[in-house]
């Protein structure tokens, strides 16, 4: 049995270890060993689901990969609150998963939610809007009018899956206190699918123009920087541009990984890289957004009142 060891901290950075552990071809059963995990974010959890689906697709339904859950009861409990086990049950053979799903709590902004159709997008926005407004205005100190844009971002992100991926995906968001890393609270959004990726989505329409330069990286640059889309309709392709604009406005981080490349808008507080190429191949598209709390001066008229 091949063993894939999950790193102790599982987020968008360490996801690369999972991606590079993916065997090129699967001849034996796989154990995904997450016992060492001490910290995981929405991106990390969706990454585990994506890994399970890729392994399962390769091996067939009779040979689902096994998932060894984290030793940490805190992490196991948190993953339950995020709805991880409900989704993972179809992908992994698991031992020791809590039988009853833990109830969601106020720190969970949106549990892991499948995105398969436009109806899901409506449900997500309906479910998250009120909660997001409360968290963004009270904890992240965003003005109310701007906080509405969070639901717009989620809607556009999820629609990207439906319109472009050709496969279903997942979304999850969560608030954290990044005390050591940033000294502020953040909201983390993760969106993943295992569809055709940017290279596949744009290839039919744009690959010929790029010739030999057409790659995962050039496809990402075309969409991310230039707003290129596979549709002729001039009204298309603005969702991603507006998500970038809003993320920049909130001094946030956005990164999109697709195939073997990753592109990002890097704020000053991050040491991330704007473009990475030559990553381990992984199907579909993986998006990470981090929105830090607003730094508000005392006396700032935009500062929400206590208890507002």
């Amino acid at each position: 049995m091949k063993v894939i060891t999950v790193p102790g901290t599982l987020d968008d950075r360490s996801f690369e270890q999972l991606a590079s552990s993916l065997p090129p071809a699967q001849g034996e059963r796989v154990l995904v060993d997450a016992r060492r995990v001490r910290w995981v974010d929405p991106y990390g959890m969706l990454g585990l689901l994506a890994l399970g689906q890729v392994l399962g697709d390769r091996a067939g339904p009779r040979e689902r990969p096994r998932l060894q859950l984290p030793d940490s009861t805190e992490v196991v409990s948190y993953m339950g609150r995020m709805g991880f086990y409900n989704r993972a049950a179809a992908l992994y053979e698991m031992h020791g998963a809590p039988r009853k799903q833990a109830e969601g709590t106020s720190d969970v902004l949106l549990e892991i939610t499948p995105v398969t159709s436009h109806v899901d997008v409506h449900q997500i926005v309906d479910r998250v809007n009120e909660r997001a407004l409360t968290i963004l205005t009270r904890q992240l100190l965003y003005p109310l009018n701007e906080a509405f844009q969070f639901s717009v971002m989620l809607s556009e992100l999820c629609q990207n899956i439906i319109e472009h991926a050709g496969a279903s995906g997942w979304v999850a968001t969560q608030t954290y206190n990044w005390a050591r890393r940033l000294g502020r609270k953040v909201v983390s959004i993760a969106v993943m699918d295992l569809g055709v990726g940017f290279h596949g989505s744009l290839g039919g329409e744009h690959a010929a123009r790029y010739g030999e330069r057409w790659s995962d990286a050039s496809a990402l640059q075309a969409a991310f920087i230039h707003g290129v889309t596979r549709f002729q309709d001039p009204g298309r392709g603005q969702g991603l541009q507006q998500i970038r604009r809003q993320t920049r406005r909130w001094d946030g981080w956005i990164a999109i990984r697709s195939g073997t490349a990753r592109i990002a808008d890097v704020p000053t507080w991050s040491d991330g890289t704007p473009l990475e190429e030559g990553l381990a191949p992984f199907p579909g598209t993986q998006i990470s957004i981090i929105l830090p709390s607003r730094v508000v001066d005392q006396g700032d008229p935009g500062r929400p009142e206590e208890g507002a």
Partner: protein, 200 residues
């Protein structure tokens, strides 16, 4: 006195409409299929009228409006009635526009060279989308006058006549102001919607 003729007012409460015609359970204006369904419903009612109409899209009760839906319901609606094969003469205004709606509408229209007269939630009126400086001057001048000949707009805005002529023509072609030809007179949509002109 020059009259535009009978202009039928049509008002669509967008929040009510999405509940009625798209999905009973959902109240937000998100996703392209939702916008398409709304647009088709509006187009059908306009076509059914069969006469010139001023359509007010009321967003007062809409909490979330995403870019995809705004593109489908606002931008494509305007584009449809800019085309030569439009079923009737129809003009559009947005109402109840909060900051949270303004950006989505402004962006989707601006990207495609479109514009719409918008009454903001605080009562102010503005032009959202794409407009040149001379178009904006002409639109502001006409809005203050209600209806006017091109010469009156040029005088009110202290702009060169030829420039105002071009700007008003462009605004009329883009369905942002209404126009009658003999004698050439332009009508701002806000006072038209308020009914002040139809009483004169």
């Amino acid at each position: 006195m020059t009259e535009l003729g009978r202009v039928i007012p049509l008002r669509f409460d967008m929040s009510e409409m999405v509940r009625r015609s798209v999905a009973t359970l959902y109240s937000h204006l998100v996703t392209r299929p939702t916008g398409q369904a709304l647009r088709m419903g509006i187009e059908a009612q306009i076509a059914e009228l069969g006469t010139m109409c001023l359509t007010v899209l009321d967003f007062s009760e809409v909490a979330v409006l995403d870019y995809s839906c705004a593109d489908e319901v606002v931008a494509k609606l305007i584009k449809r009635f800019q085309r030569e094969d439009r079923p009737v003469e129809a003009y559009f205004m947005a109402r109840g526009i909060e900051n949270r709606h303004q950006e989505a509408i402004d962006v989707v229209l601006g990207r495609q060279g479109l514009a719409i007269t918008a009454e903001l939630a605080d009562g102010r009126v503005t032009l959202l989308g794409e407009a040149s400086a001379s178009e904006l001057a002409a639109w502001n001048g006409l809005d203050a006058l209600g209806r006017a000949a091109p010469e009156q707009v040029a005088e009110a805005t202290r702009s060169p006549q030829a420039e105002i002529n071009r700007a008003l023509e462009s605004l009329a072609r883009r369905r942002v102001v209404a126009r009658v030809d003999i004698p050439r007179t332009y009508f701002a949509l806000r006072p038209l919607a308020a009914g002040s002109l139809s009483r004169s």
